[in-house]
Amino acid sequence: MSSLLEVRDLEVKFGLRSGDITAIDGVSFELDPGERMGLVGESGAGKSVTGFAIINLISKPGYISRGSIHFEGKEISAYPPDKMRTIRGNRISMIFQDPMMTLNPVYTIGFQMIETLKAHRDISKSQARAIALEKLKLVQMPSPEKRLAQYPHELSGGMRQRIIIAISLLADPAIIIADEPTTALDVTIQAEIMDLLQELCENEKMGLMLITHDLGVVSQVTEKIAVMYAGKIIEYGPTETVVHHPVHPYTIGLIGSIPGSIEPGKDLRQIPGMMPTLTNIPPGCAFNPRCELAADICTRQTPVLEEKQNGIMAACHMK
């Protein structure tokens, strides 16, 4: 069965005066209809760039240098801008991190929603308005009619994020890419937004790609998980298994460093050092300088992502 979205060996480079740097290095994964996947990693691991690459939002000096992105059976990575526009925001939409920055402050919510719809479909203003209302109800927005006439500054952060989700749903997309959708929000609001996203995926059969650094959120919402480190996926598998029986030393360290995973007051398991910058990735396995299992081979040969145990794929020589 072919997947809804299939990314194969994707490589994204950024051209700098000092030479190209590789932000994403051979990333592959697939997403089925209605499936929820988490893309996890620390800042600079390449998770957002992966999300942007799928809908071709990489701007210069960045470019997709290798690999393919198949969506609904078609190769979309080399689509020209006008053709891409029939997919972006329409079949695949994206939710960004900061709800304060995503909405245009000088237009009403209604205007922004109707404008988005009219860009994708040939419909009248009143039809668009009806759809906008319907989507606002779908995201459980209290008094939706009133919201259409309001400006973004009149709403709280949680409400704004609901509006953004409603906008992303306008064209009934097959996939939503959510880039840190709750990082700027408080925990109680975060829980509500995550509930909402999960319900929508289940009811509307939408695929969700959740990009986040928060393993807690990922483990509650997603079915599978891809852990990124320095531009590569280093562990990939069912969320349950990865969270309980991680294979890669980085994933093990990452889970161990979350407070709450061990007894209060005890030292947290810490990964020494920090992630290398992209201009300075060590040879062999990029994680080897921080890894306690590292052996000679790790500094010479780059490990490939391969099947390890319980259906987990990991890129590590030592496991």
Binding site: S43, V187, T188, D195, I255, P259, G260, D267, L268, M274
Partner: protein, 340 residues
């Protein structure tokens, strides 16, 4: 609130309101005749708490609940509108600038954003030496240099980097430097305002371990301000939960996490996503956080609380002490209403 020994820090009925009404014309109102109206943000309302020597008290709450304002009040960066703050038995909220100086040595602060809290034009040495020189005018250059080296080693930054500027360091290292700045005067009490929330998880673990090590080595007392409840559970001895500038619950970390009493604490705890746990149903709150400009009548939480009754709308609940030295401010807990 009584204890057998004097707590290191005691905050008593502290109130802080900020006037945001602006100039004369902004204050003019024409409803029912012309009159002037002041608008105030009620950031902290009648908060009382104490911190014992050697413990870590965490203050938690969502954005806008007044936790950072409370930290700044304690350190004398703001003056309270009313209420008293005692440090080691001495009242400190009424001190003049000069009288504050000896307390500044003992009470230090670590800020949230290591990118903004270090002066980009100063080297690490200048940043760390300045407070040292200021408070110890007789110290020789060599002594100061030795002290800076010593503290840098303690926080895990190589003293060879002393001549570098902040931009040459990563976020985690910068936070280590701001911790070093907090420690350089050998304080007893440190207020840490969201010290790890700007950092990645693996770096966050390093900094939390460092803070816990330092607490033991230097016999420090922490007031830890954060919104991250899993961090709180990990490092604190006691926890204070704030909502809209009001103290809801104050309890030992274990009691609070095992048996939260206040309905808001329960909702807050149920919303934490935990790694590896399938989603438990979180308690949904009604509505949105009201603005601190117009506080609800009675209990500030009543319009979001599922258990609220008539009394909650009218009367502000007192902070009562339960048997296990948990303090709660809720009519429901006081009267034993069924809450499940």
């Amino acid at each position: 609130m009584t204890t057998n020994h004097t707590p290191l820090l005691r905050v008593q009925d502290v109130v802080k309101h900020f006037d945001i009404s602006g100039g004369f014309l902004d204050q003019l109102r024409f409803k029912g005749g012309i009159h002037l109206e002041k608008t105030t943000v009620k950031a902290v309302n009648n908060v009382s708490l104490f911190v014992n020597k050697g413990e870590t008290l965490s203050v938690v709450g969502e954005s806008g609940c007044g936790k950072s304002t409370l930290a700044r009040l304690i350190l004398g960066l703001y003056r309270p509108n009313s209420g008293k703050i005692f440090y080691d038995g001495q009242r400190i909220d009424t001190l003049t600038h000069e009288q504050w100086l000896p307390y500044r040595r003992k009470m230090q602060m670590i800020f949230q954003d290591p990118y903004a809290s270090l002066n980009p034009r100063k080297t690490v040495r200048q940043t760390l030496e300045e407070p040292l020189r200021f408070h110890n005018p007789k110290m020789t250059a060599q002594e100061a240099r030795d002290k800076v080296d010593f503290v840098m080693e303690q926080v895990g930054v190589d003293p060879a980097w002393i001549a570098r500027h902040p931009h040459e360091f990563s976020g985690g290292q910068r936070q280590r430097i701001s911790i070093a700045r907090g420690l350089i005067l050998d304080p007893d009490f440190i207020v840490a305002d969201e010290p790890v929330s700007a950092l990645d998880v693996s770096i966050q673990a390093q900094i939390l371990n460092l803070l816990m090590d330092l607490r033991e080595k230097h016999d420090l007392t922490y007031l830890f301000i954060t919104h991250d409840l899993s961090v709180v559970h990990h490092i604190s001895s006691r926890v204070a939960v704030l909502y809209l500038g009001t103290l809801c619950e104050l309890a030992s970390a274990n009691d609070l996490f095992n048996e939260p009493r206040h309905p808001y604490t329960r909702a807050l705890l149920s919303a934490i996503p935990k790694v590896g746990e399938k989603k438990a149903k979180h308690i949904k709150l009604k509505g949105e956080v009201p603005t601190p400009v117009k506080l609800p009548s009675g209990c500030v939480f009543h319009n979001r609380c599922v258990y609220a009754r008539e009394r909650c709308k009218k009367e502000f609940p007192r902070l009562i002490e339960l048997s296990n030295s948990t303090f709660v401010s809720c009519h429901g807990v006081e009267e034993g209403w069924p809450m499940d």
